[in-house]
């Protein structure tokens, strides 16, 4: 039997797990459609129902689409918790372990697939935004920077979500995280400016991870000054990723003891 050698031996498990997760995602049309439908519906609701009453100093659609993109990423990548939890519940995790596949490879597969899935759904949500009047004025560099930040957020949140999936006792419990992540953009500048919220909320809304992310996207896509927001956003992503990787390593060992 011919065996792969060298670096391939280290990478093959992670790549194989990624292939698996991507294949499974592609066949899980329901989940992919849901993760796109919800942000699209919210976008339509905010733009057409509430938008007229919200004064942001700009066309509301231009204000809200960056927020919707973040909500879409947050909602979509938190679905990884459910997938990881389902794996942990079934017998397949034992099979992988008995093939000596490490927890990192297994989770990395989920994270890469989740990122790919969400790049796809975020792009679709963006195109719906363009159809209903979103008019970004970003330079090529601005687009690239925005995409990079969103990608960092997707990777970090997918990995955090994988850790939550390891923590949850059941896939149903893991799906609770999806809700949490879906609501996190509300107390931020996603839909309305933070200044319009009660003052006790400012502290949270100004300093939660989603706000600098939305501020950066909005600024970059409309070619406006962004200040330090992108760096704050990236720092958040880095911190979330570091915590998630460490936490999931520990949790994987605990869960599979």
């Amino acid at each position: 039997m011919s065996e792969t050698s060298g670096a391939g031996r280290l990478l093959t498990p992670a790549l194989t797990m990624t292939g698996r997760c991507v294949r499974l995602s592609r066949r899980d049309v329901d989940a992919v459609v849901t993760s796109m439908m919800l942000p699209v519906m919210l976008m339509l609701v905010f733009v057409y129902f509430f938008g007229g009453a919200i004064n942001t100093g700009t066309e509301y659609v231009n204000y809200v689409v960056p927020g919707i993109l973040v909500l879409c990423s947050a909602f979509g990548s938190s679905g990884t918790a459910v997938r990881v939890s389902e794996d942990m519940k079934g017998g397949i995790i034992d099979r992988f372990r008995s093939l000596d596949v490490g927890g990192t490879s297994i989770l990395a597969g989920h994270v890469v697939a989740s990122t790919a899935r969400n790049v796809f759904s975020t792009a679709l949500v963006l195109s719906v935004g363009l159809v209903i009047g979103f008019r970004p004025s970003a330079s090529a560099a601005g687009w690239l920077a925005a995409a990079g930040i969103l990608l960092a957020f997707l990777v970090a949140l997918s990995w955090l979500s994988a850790a939550v999936g390891l923590m949850a006792r059941t896939p149903e419990a893991a799906s609770g995280f999806t809700f949490f992540m879906m609501f996190l953009p509300y107390p931020s500048s996603a839909f309305v400016p933070v200044e319009t919220m009660p003052s006790w909320l400012h502290g949270f809304a100004d300093h939660q991870p989603v706000t600098p992310l939305i501020e950066s996207l909005r600024g970059l896509l409309h070619d406006e000054p962004v200040g330090t927001a992108p760096w704050t956003a990236l720092a958040w992503c880095g911190a979330i990723l570091a915590v998630a990787v460490a936490l999931s390593g520990v949790l994987f060992r605990v869960r599979t003891r």
Binding site: T12, R23, G90, G91, R97, L99, D100
Partner: protein
């Protein structure tokens, strides 16, 4: 013996002489529940070994410890010549485990599942494709190879699961209740798979609740109850241990039945029938009947049966149930 012994064998050599599986004093508790209470076992290379026991006896925990998926609290075990804790990676490369829950992805085809497992066990892309085709053929799944596992019947799924466990050509195969929930035909097919494995020289460690399964397949059988091994031997030895034959005696009334209930290996209170172990000779049967009923009025009928593993099992694992039954008949 607790010092780490260096192995004389080179790491990947097939240990031909030594036992394939060897465990001493395995203990495991979950919270306050003792699941394994000092388990010893030994399985020779190339044998089919069956671990029998009621639900909750500790069979699955034993398998998981031997397959390196769970760590024992105490005791040690070697599988395929390697220590399950110190040399976990080598054990994993030498074994496969097929558990009670199917370990295949429903939303991948049979072929994709097998190729994935082959890649994970270190085969190249091309070799994985060949190995998958080979296993599909061997498990009679070639026609279904390109269908999602979702569409498979229970028996097909179990075969795929088993095939997935064999991609790496393991020396030792653990099967945890492989036929639970299968229809009779699928069970027969699975038995054939186990026999084929044994013919190829693979060591098979099989847990089951079905005695006929152990009787048909296993070279040696161990009976486990409440976290302990209560008997071990060939099916014939175990049957001989409880007498080789069973004398079923029908009593005339409940009082007579109750007087002799303690010594029985088989009880049927509704029909006032007790089964007693015997060697089946006329001499002993006559003596037994005289002993049970010296006045010749308590026993109305009797019949003689060859002992089945069921009798062995019930006589060995009856402690719990017997003590619960006692008060009702005092």
């Amino acid at each position: 013996m607790s010092t780490g012994r260096p192995t004389a064998r080179p790491p990947h050599a097939t240990p031909t002489a030594g036992p394939a599986i060897e465990a001493h004093g395995l203990r495991k508790t979950y919270g306050k529940v003792t699941v394994l209470d000092g388990v010893d076992l030994r399985v020779e290379t190339g044998n089919v070994f069956s671990l029998l026991g009621p639900n909750g006896a500790g069979k699955t925990t034993t398998v998981r410890i031997l397959a390196t998926l769970t760590a024992a609290d105490a005791g040690r075990a070697r599988v395929a010549g390697h220590d399950v804790t110190a040399d976990r990676g080598r054990v994993r490369r030498a074994i496969s485990l097929t558990g009670q829950f199917a370990a295949v992805d429903e939303k991948q085809t049979g072929e994709e599942n097998l190729r994935m497992m082959a890649r994970l066990s270190g085969l190249s892309r091309a070799a994985s494709r060949r190995r998958a085709a080979e296993l599909l053929e061997r498990f009679d799944l070639t026609a279904a190879g390109r269908r999602l596992a979702l569409t498979y019947s229970g028996g097909m799924r179990r075969r795929l699961d088993l095939a997935a466990g064999l991609v790496g050509d393991p020396q030792v195969v653990f099967l945890d209740e492989p036929t639970t929930g299968l229809d009779p035909r699928s069970r027969q097919e699975l038995w054939q798979v186990v026999r084929d494995l044994a013919d190829r020289g693979t060591t098979v460690f099989l847990t089951t609740q079905y005695l006929d399964e152990a009787d048909r397949l296993a070279d040696r059988v161990a009976v486990m109850d409440a976290g302990r091994m209560v008997a071990e031997g060939t099916a014939a030895q175990l049957k001989a241990q409880v007498g080789g034959h069973r004398l079923d005696v029908v009593f005339t009334d409940r009082a007579a039945y109750a007087r002799h209930e303690q010594r029985a290996v088989h009880r049927s209170p509704e029909s006032l029938t007790l089964g007693l172990p015997t060697d089946g000779t006329a001499l002993e049967v006559r003596a037994l009947l005289d002993d049970l009923d010296p006045e010749r009025r308590d026993v109305s009928r009797f019949s003689l049966h060859t002992t089945t593993l069921d009798d062995v099992f019930l006589s060995l694992t009856r402690t719990g149930t017997a003590s619960r039954q006692e008060p009702t008949h005092v």
